[in-house]
Symmetry: C2
Subunit: 339 residues, 2 copies
């Protein structure tokens, strides 16, 4: 780590160097953005993990290349800062998206520790790209059409109870879940624990896809189920996608339907729960639900019973009941389901 | 919906048409992938929401354009299938990633209903891109360096209790959270309910970024807090990013640190919980935790006490305790924190 501390000087604000944190997507140049290519082309210095440097070999000829091993993340950021302070343009490359478990976080942490500010002598740009989540989803079908989460099973910097609570929450709340860093030579039990936590809430038949080296030469895609996923070949280059309770596999494609409302009652997760009644099929959104809640409470259903019925915290039900219903606006905005 | 049913014929397997579901990224051509540009360039027919067609106007000259309104999602898929069956190459464009709350899911659903199979006369390709999550994160700093989830607040097709349970789970398990479709003219209370659910678990000071029209002409970025987020200008073109308990804002950048292990005890979420003791600071991963668990249980701590201490289900603690510890391998795989 450099111990130079930058004192921003308003009289000399010109940026003398720059760092672009470039997400190159899955690794095939076809799936890089124009801006990612351009940022690498503009660079004097290209820094990255050896494998990623190889993936963009044709773009980096004649440039200064700093290859780092996978464990030298902070070194990469320090090297980038040093080169940028020397007036160079630096491209620091990540696979996938530089912001998703990528170099963007560690780089800003190093920059802040070195006294860097955005107004100073080094400009920073994050170039977004398709993360492993996006690339793997595109290859297996359409698993991410509904709410999803990403959880890394790497416990080097994160205590296992934190990871376990996230797995438990994701399984219970029926998120489609992408597991990053699912397994390594050293870490073999984490995926089994993840499976165990998911099986407490989800059907053993829940579709799972294991994607390895997406869009690269050794790409492989395996479809399996929650019950069997831990028996498959999973490694550091794999991403594991676990469907939600509505996800299905058909003709070798994993698809999560957009909605719940057409298929299920207001509980909306495809399983009947004790004490649960079918809601109003045409109005299971917030306003319809608030309506149902008010009516049930007026008819004598207690807050605890409602909390149990909808599997939501009692104090949330209580405070929501106290908030008067507003008439629903007629202003039907376009685009409710696309972002 | 067409009611033609395709009978796949092994004697005539040549694909006569194709549908590319193209994620164009945030909307600026700079952030489209090479494959996305190519798929649009190759197309005879380009189908999409009017706004997205405008975003790629320079690429679609001379092509047949089918503009649909935001609510005509299934129509878009049906039009794509009809054109592809007529032997045309179709680019069906989505903003962001076609797989993330995008057209990939509805399109496969329409195709399956029409009897399509992957071996038939219409080829389908999903072209991945940077989703709103990736683009917005790149603009605000590095919020997605740790586990995250995406939740749509649109309750048109999803019952509110399902959405509320996901908000509650995401808040409790300390995910960085991206809210898609946070608000529309008609849906104004959903964001308030989201805030209410988050405030049950998270500090009112939790950093929040509201990004509107990322990488487009009217781009705006607002930093706020969980306590104040509902008072800001949020609309259909906004994505709301809520940090985790470690996320901070400095110099106009929102950053989530990579890990917990260096800062916190084994509970790992920055707050002390009743009955919780600091764990072994150098070994808070799965194996260290299992070790601690075994030792505590042997010393008389009950399973219920352990479940309470680590905020994990008692039956998970019980079954994990029954599974004997395996010696940890020395094979230190590279790249534990990058995917």
């Amino acid at each position: 780590m450099t111990d130079t501390v930058l004192t921003p000087s308003p009289s000399a604000p010109a940026a003398v160097g720059r760092i672009a944190l470039v997400g190159i997507g899955p690794g095939s140049v076809d799936h890089m953005t124009a801006r990612a290519r351009e940022a690498i082309a503009e660079a004097d210095v290209v820094i990255g993990y050896v494998t990623y440097i190889k993936l963009v070999a044709d773009l980096v000829e004649g440039k200064e290349i700093i290859r780092k091993s996978m464990t030298e993340e902070l070194d990469r950021a320090v090297s980038a800062l040093e080169a940028a302070r020397a007036g160079k343009k630096v491209a620091l490359i990540s696979s996938g998206d530089a912001g998703v478990y990528g170099m963007a976080g560690p780089t800003y942490e190093v920059l802040f520790q070195a006294g860097w500010t955005p107004e100073g002598d080094v400009e920073v740009e994050i170039v977004p790209g398709a993360s492993a989540l996006n690339s793997c989803a595109a290859l297996v079908g359409a698993p991410l059409t509904h709410d999803f989460c990403a959880i890394s099973l790497s416990d080097l910097l994160t205590p296992w109870p934190v990871i376990a609570r996230r797995l438990d929450a994701a399984a219970a709340a029926d998120f489609v879940t992408a597991l990053y860093n699912p397994k390594s030579g050293r870490r073999t039990r984490q995926i089994q624990e993840a499976q165990r936590l998911f099986l407490r809430h989800r059907s053993p038949d829940t579709p799972v896809a294991i994607v390895k080296s997406a869009y690269r030469r050794r790409q492989s895609i395996q479809f399996t189920t929650l019950a069997q996923m831990a028996e498959h070949d999973i490694g550091m280059l794999s991403t594991v996608l676990i469907g939600n309770s509505n996800t299905f596999v058909r003709d070798g494609l994993m698809v999560t339907p957009r909605g719940y409302a057409n298929k299920y009652d207001v509980a909306g997760d495809g399983t009947a729960h004790e004490g649960e009644k079918a809601g109003r099929s045409l109005s299971t959104g917030l306003h319809g639900w608030l309506d149902t809640l008010q009516a049930a409470h007026a008819a004598g259903t207690t807050i605890d019973q409602l909390a149990h019925q909808y599997r939501l915290p009692a104090d949330y039900i209580r405070i929501t009941l106290q908030d008067p219903l507003q008439p629903e606006s007629d202003d039907t905005a376009a685009g409710e389901t696309e972002a």
